[in-house]
């Protein structure tokens, strides 16, 4: 084995089981790569000692022939997942020094299945952002370089920016992310990797720092569709500790990758052709449609009339839920405390210093739209429009099995670009937010390069709890696209 880092998750799993490599050498290869590429700022915390202990235990099981599903596979964890005994920051100053005494359900299932933890990944503060420039721990850089941008440092997308950059730069075999409005899929598209947001309720939210509880979902970021299917099987499943967790068994998603979409009906929504969409995004989408048609799928024109209202709806609901969820950060029980003369003064100073600009904006918007006299006009109105957006999808799924759209309206931009205009930044999620508001499973698959040589992804959206169809279609799209370009930076 000359290049351990070139193995994807599925290949590494097989090589470990066949005794061709050990988890310890694989883990050490990743720890070395992480150190060499620390400039990308992907990791907030690395856990090399823990990783080696976990790898050694996996090697023992592998030697005895009782391999667990993810035995010995080194993963990175978004720093939104609480990990017992390991600093968990959510990318925020306000969680300074917070060491959970419990483990999130999703990560506990990864360790149950034998995976190895490399460390905790950088992210936009409280998962609010689309470029990973909102972290207290500094921006994350993508390993990709634009052909025309000189040496400009590019964003990896967000909020799971560290998770995406790390997979792309080969600083983890696969990573966990969370997606509230596109935070797995958009960085997946920017970094040329696969990002999967499962159905709301598929993965337990217990132990994941809450942003917007009716939208937050955990999911994997991986090199391939098969890797995402392998990861999701371990991450998913019913958890009584999350009342919104679906009481359904986690299926073998890998078995859904039949490579056959003959007769599958793929919807193409006309409302996703938005004003000012770059021609290269249109062209990529058209190519994706052709690929699915050539593979035997039936392409169906559909309409999702309320698409343009999804983003403003999201920017009422998500901040409203965030303002309520983030009320817990008061400097009393954990994290940062800034002393004040009175209790109220301590709260206000702690939150004033502890939260970054974007978090403050959203908490204030949320507090306003929930305040007396405005609740009906903003929050209830948004919940009603959300019902109409869901109705659009319900009707569309009467005639199609999956929907194909672009993932993001552009390729990656430079760190510092779009920073002065929050709404411009929000528009990054125009294609991902509708499926978040409706809880539908959706995946981003790398399909091509922009004119500047940067990755672009397409998104496949499925019916509630029908990840199997999403994976099946995504596998076919991935094979047809044959995306194999590697970034200039990283390993």
């Amino acid at each position: 084995m000359t290049d351990l880092l070139s193995l994807d998750l599925a290949a590494a799993r097989d090589a470990l089981r066949d005794g061709k490599i050990s988890s310890l050498e694989l883990t050490d290869a990743y720890l070395g790569a992480m150190e060499a590429a620390s400039d990308l700022n992907c990791y907030i915390t690395t856990t090399p000692d823990k990783a080696r202990v976990m790898a050694a235990a996996a090697d023992q099981r592998l030697a005895q022939g009782d391999a667990l599903p993810l035995d010995g596979l080194p993963l990175g964890i978004k720093d939104l997942f609480c990990t017992e005994g390991i600093l968990t920051t959510a990318g925020s100053h306000i969680l300074d020094g917070f060491v959970p005494t419990y483990e999130s359900t999703v990560t506990s299932q990864l360790w149950r299945d034998g995976a190895v933890m490399l460390g905790k990944l950088n992210m936009d503060e409280f998962a609010m952002g689309s470029a990973n420039v909102n972290s207290y721990y500094g921006p994350v850089e993508s390993p990709w370089k634009s052909r025309d941008g000189g040496n400009a440092r590019l964003v990896p997308g967000g909020s799971s920016g560290g998770s995406a950059s790390a997979v792309s730069a080969r600083l983890a075999l696969a990573t966990t992310g969370t997606d509230t409005g596109g935070s797995i899929r958009q960085p997946g598209s920017f970094c040329g990797i696969v990002g999967m947001k499962p159905t709301y309720g598929r993965c337990s939210r217990w132990g994941i720092v809450a942003f917007s509880s009716s939208l937050d979902q955990a999911g994997p970021l991986t090199r391939t569709v098969r890797d995402a299917a392998i990861m999701l099987r371990s991450m998913a499943g019913h958890d009584p500790k999350d009342s919104t967790s679906a009481n359904l068994p986690a299926p073998d998603f890998e078995a859904a990758l039949t490579g056959d979409v003959r007769g599958m009906r793929i919807g193409v929504p006309k409302e996703y052709r938005i004003d000012g969409m770059p021609a290269e995004i249109e062209a990529l989408w058209a190519r994706g449609i052709e690929m699915m048609r050539d593979a035997g799928a039936e392409i169906v024109d559909i309409s999702l009339p309320h698409t343009k209202y999804a983003l403003p709806t999201y920017y009422i609901i998500a901040p409203a839920e965030a303002s309520s969820n983030l009320a817990r950060y008061d400097g009393v029980r954990y994290g940062l405390r800034v002393e004040g003369e009175t209790l109220d003064d301590m709260y206000a100073k702690t939150r004033g210093e502890g939260f970054g600009a974007e978090v403050k904006r959203r908490v204030l918007i949320g507090a306003y739209v929930l305040s007396a006299g405005y609740y009906d006009a903003y929050y209830l109105k948004a919940q009603r429009v959300r019902a109409l957006i869901k109705r659009d999808f319900d009707e569309a799924f009467g005639s199609v099995d999956a929907i194909l759209t672009p993932t993001a309206p552009s390729d990656a931009f430079a760190i510092g670009e779009n920073d002065d205009d929050p709404i411009k930044m929000y528009l990054n999620d125009v294609f991902t937010v509708p499926s978040s508001l409706t809880g539908l499973p959706a995946i981003s698959v790398p399909v091509g390069l922009s004119d500047r040589g940067l990755p672009l992804g397409l998104q496949l959206i499925g019916k509630l709890f029908d990840e199997a169809t999403v994976f099946r279609a995504a596998g076919v799209l991935e094979t047809a696209a044959g995306f194999s370009v590697r970034p200039a930076g990283g390993q």
Partner: protein, 95 residues
């Protein structure tokens, strides 16, 4: 609907976030931009549409109202910025 400085200052107080005066002006502008962009929802006719709170339609489960966890104050207090015995401590509230 446009927010003025006093309203934003009041929202910040309600949210218990200290905002310095020099940041307030910028914040008023940003919040107004976001709110006026959100106003486009008024174009949508939602007459007779019930607000959607749950996307999956799964009923929320009930459980017995009993103690299922607890009894480890050291773990609970491990991250306390300040504590006295088995309590979190805060600035004096009552004179």
């Amino acid at each position: 609907m446009s927010l003025d400085k006093a309203t934003v200052s009041n929202i910040a107080h309600l949210a218990r976030i200290k905002v310095d005066d020099d940041q307030l002006e910028t914040m008023v502008g940003e919040l107004n931009n976001i709110l006026s962009w959100i106003e486009q929802l008024n174009e949508v006719d939602t007459e007779g549409v019930a607000p959607l709170a749950s996307v999956t339609g799964h009923p929320l489960p009930l459980r017995a109202d009993g103690i299922a966890d607890g009894g480890y104050p050291e773990r609970v207090l491990l991250n306390a910025p300040d504590r006295v015995a088995d309590f979190y401590s805060v600035p004096k509230v009552v004179e």
